[in-house]
Amino acid sequence: MTYKQATYDEPLIFELGKPGRRGHLPPKTDVPPREITIPSNMKRKEPPQLPEIHEGEVVRHYLHLSQMNYCVDTGIYPLGSCTMKYNPKINEALARNEKLCYIHPYQPEETVQGILELIYNLQKILSELAGLPYCTLQPAAGAAGEYLGLNLIRAYHHDRGDYDRIDIITPDSSHGTNPASTVMNGFNIIEIESNKDGQVDLEALKAVVSEKTAGFMITNPNTLGIFESQIEEISKIIHDAGGLLYYDGANFNAIVGMIRPGEMGFDVLHFNLHKTFSTPHGGGGPGSGAVCCSERLSPYLPVPIVEFDKANNRYFLNYDIPKTVGKIHGYYGNIAIALRGYAYICALGADGLIETSRQAVLNANYVMRKLEEIDGLVLKYNRELPRKHECVLDATPLKHEIGVGAMDIAKMLISRGYHAPTVLFPLIVHEALMIEPTENENKESLDRYIQVFKEEIAKAKENPQYAHDAPYNTAVGRVDDAWATRNLILSWKMIKELEKKGQWPPQWPEDH
């Protein structure tokens, strides 16, 4: 298959257009104009330099840009830890409903009974899957869910007068947001090394728990795709020390309906609806990071929680949570995203969701066993263990042998019209290639990917420079990240200033 990504010399939109052209005529009031009496120090003097373009050219510009983008509907997108599954089109259509788009969060409750019911239903569904009875959709993404979960843990300890619990423990395989949320939340982070099986080292864990332990954060399966089979022991160690357990549910696509973290002793969990429940990733967001928690953490939930008043047969926003931690989002979270997740769950039902996980896991193991055969790639940590929805291969041998690492492999893959795995994460695998095909790829698609992987590594072995010079066939060749950091050109305004100084467009260094 030959591949060539669309390539346009598309200018910045600011370079297009001319004064006087219009792209859209906004509605205007029929109230007569009047003098604008905004005090002069607060009155706009110079209009912002926005483009002036007619509608057709705006559409053409962004259409060109869209064509210089790889997406899930282009082909396999096995970006590990991100669960880049198909985004069902019905969900997009449903999210355009006027009775979703045009409702304000402060409308009277009687005018939003439909959306409140949907939120309530989704809360119940997520609770059912988590095995934890309480739920809020307020966090806008997984990291916000973590932050909120940590808030709940702190509130719980403080409420018991236990102010000395300041440590959060997490394995070194954890996602970067776990330690980041922890420290942002004012906790002290303790990262423990994984054992040779890529799992939590129980001895290391025992060594760090203490009367200062506030909680433990883990994702299971972990970022190596390995199930933490000692989870009950871990749970016991933490609980015995008086700590609580946080479940990073980003990897839930492996275990939906098969395991309920609440039943393993977890007190709080976040889901990434943009992973497990198919909502689009939007080029970086929006997501939705719903949080479920146990009875003992429920007094601290953020306000409001959607509840049902049986007596009056009416859904309502409950702000009456005296010990609430407050708010984690301006309103109730990314509701239009939550709706898409809800539609997905409705379409699959329990059996469908379970089957989804099983196929995601089958696909990951299939790819892993085939790629493992490539000379130069190894499966670090116990290779006997099956992986779950994702696997992590290590290209360190290849790197030592011919100097071609994970990033080079990524660039060769995108040259062929396939998305790369997540590279260089988790950090405990040096040349990590983290692959998560999801259930959206059939056998032929996986076979093709494996074949391309093999072909490209073979080419690299023949000529390592080929690998270093990749990608080919993409809209642009390999970008120079170091130059970007050194020069920091971050807006059109900064470009204009460089232009004035005669420093734009940029000069290529001699040796480039």
């Binding site: 912002p48 409903n97 959306i115 469908g352 642009v476 920091l488 480039h512």
Partner: protein
């Protein structure tokens, strides 16, 4: 579960068999063999299930049909969000799967579409706010405020106090409180002047003592009042190296001054009001975060930032995520923020909207809102209803209605019967409610006249 087949699952039973055979396995169960039996869920999940896409659609549409939208009922609700119109061309672009089904451009060479568009978003935000750099979104305005407070403490390492005005939206205050709680950053409220609704500047200056790292105000503030007497406060802040953070209503910027031109170091807000997307019951939104350029400060910014860089082909520059070493995936607990997934699509959508709207459209929408609000205020005054604060405003003001607590529900209903969402109730005295009214550019004279008529009727009852 034999012969399970579903449109969202790629493989057939036959495929599964073949794949298992190649792996030397009999069943997918074997891939779960490492999960102890004791923790497996053995019950039956209580989940909804609909047989086909058609039925899912019917179910959800039926639920949503119970809502009353702002297309059916005239909305005077604002509070940081705005009822906007999304042009069809914008939605067409938003429906491009190339944009919405991609993720963070970790492979920039194959994601120039996302990166280029986000760079244009950052640039347009800078033009609007008179700033030099912007990130490519926070979750919303409220979390942008939390992040801004934390950033001022990273810049001014020595202090631990952050000032904000009492005329900040209550929901944003709540999130701010939450975001600073871990950093041991003390937040101190600057009162507002009871007559004007503006920040009490004497008090603000008095509070800018030892250990203050940043000061935040909104403009227009939550009451809709324009903060036009802040020059001295900003001057003192600059002298004391206190970082000035302004929260602005982005929809006002066609006619109101950009915060970068009156001394703000950091400017935040929500791009929803400038057309990132419709109300969506409060989310997704798009938190704006922009600042003046400073090599050191910019490295303290939260969130993703797109920058320009070189490619191997001379003359062909391109876009990439830059300053990634501030972020959690590299810096872990030393990151400037925990944010990972952000609101990128909403940011791109903002770029589409602003490209369509242009400077003229922005000015016109601003003017329409201004005319509407000022007309409404005068008409209300004609029937003897005053505003609480007698200050200059843009599209929002607080109407002195003093609805007693026990009448609030009745009032809401009364207005609803007249197809009006009356505004956001706000209590100054803890006993009665005044209403914060926002007029979008979708409202026409008749809607405003109907509002006045309804209030008149209410008062006569």
């Amino acid at each position: 579960m034999s012969n399970f087949s579903h449109p969202y699952i790629a493989n057939s039973e036959q495929d599964k068999k073949e794949m298992l055979a190649e792996l030397g396995l009999n069943s997918i169960d074997e891939l779960y063999s490492d999960i102890p039996d004791s923790i497996r869920f053995k019950g039956k999940l209580e989940l909804p299930h609909f047989q086909s896409e058609f039925e899912v659609k019917e179910h959800i549409e039926k639920l949503l049909s119970k809502n009353v939208s702002t297309r059916e009922c005239r909305s005077f609700l604002g509070g940081g969000l705005l009822d906007v119109y999304i042009p069809a061309a914008q939605d067409e672009l938003l429906r491009r799967t190339e944009f919405y089904s991609a993720y963070t451009p970790y492979q920039p060479e194959t994601s120039q579409g996302t990166l280029h568009t986000l760079f244009e978003y950052q640039s347009m935000i800078c033009e609007l706010l008179a700033m030099d750099t912007a990130n490519c979104s926070m979750y919303d305005w409220a979390t942008a405020l939390g992040e801004a407070a934390l950033m001022t403490a990273r810049i001014n390492k020595k202090g631990n106090k952050f000032l904000y005005t009492a005329a900040t939206a209550p929901n944003r205050k709540e999130v701010l409180k939450n975001y600073v709680s871990g950093a041991k950053l003390e937040i101190i409220e600057i009162p507002y002047d009871k007559e004007t609704g503006k920040m009490d500047k004497e008090k603000a200056i008095e509070l800018m003592g030892e250990g203050v790292v940043g000061i935040y105000f909104e403009n227009p503030n939550y009451f809709g009042v324009i903060e036009d007497e802040i020059e001295e406060v900003i001057k003192v802040a600059k002298e004391k190296k206190i970082v000035v953070v302004a929260g602005v209503d982005t929809s006002s910027l066609g006619i109101m001054e950009a915060p970068g031109n009156y001394g703000a170091d950091i400017a935040i807000g929500d791009a929803q009001s400038i057309g990132a997307g419709p109300l969506n019951y409060g989310g997704p939104l798009a938190g704006v975060f922009a600042m003046k350029f400073d090599k050191k400060w910019t490295r303290q910014m939260p969130g993703r930032i797109v920058g320009i860089t070189l490619t191997p082909k001379k003359g062909k520059w391109a876009f990439t995520n830059t300053l990634q070493t501030r972020e959690q995936h590299i810096k872990r607990f030393r990151a400037t923020s925990n944010i990972c997934t952000n609101e990128a699509l909403m940011a791109m959508s903002t770029a589409f909207h602003l490209a369509l709207l242009g400077p003229q459209g922005l000015k016109e929408t601003g003017e329409s809102m201004y005319y509407n609000a000022h007309y409404l205020k005068e008409e209300l005054e004609k029937i003897g209803v005053k505003t609480v604060f007698n200050s200059e405003f843009f599209n929002t003001f607080l109407v002195d209605l003093k609805i007693p607590k026990d009448k609030k529900e009745e009032f809401t209903k009364f207005m609803l019967e007249r197809k009006i969402f009356a505004g956001i109730p706000f209590s100054l005295d803890g006993e009665t409610y005044d209403y914060l009214i926002t007029t979008s550019y979708l409202l026409k004279k008749k809607d405003l006249d109907d509002y006045v008529k309804a209030i008149e009727e209410w008062r006569n009852e």
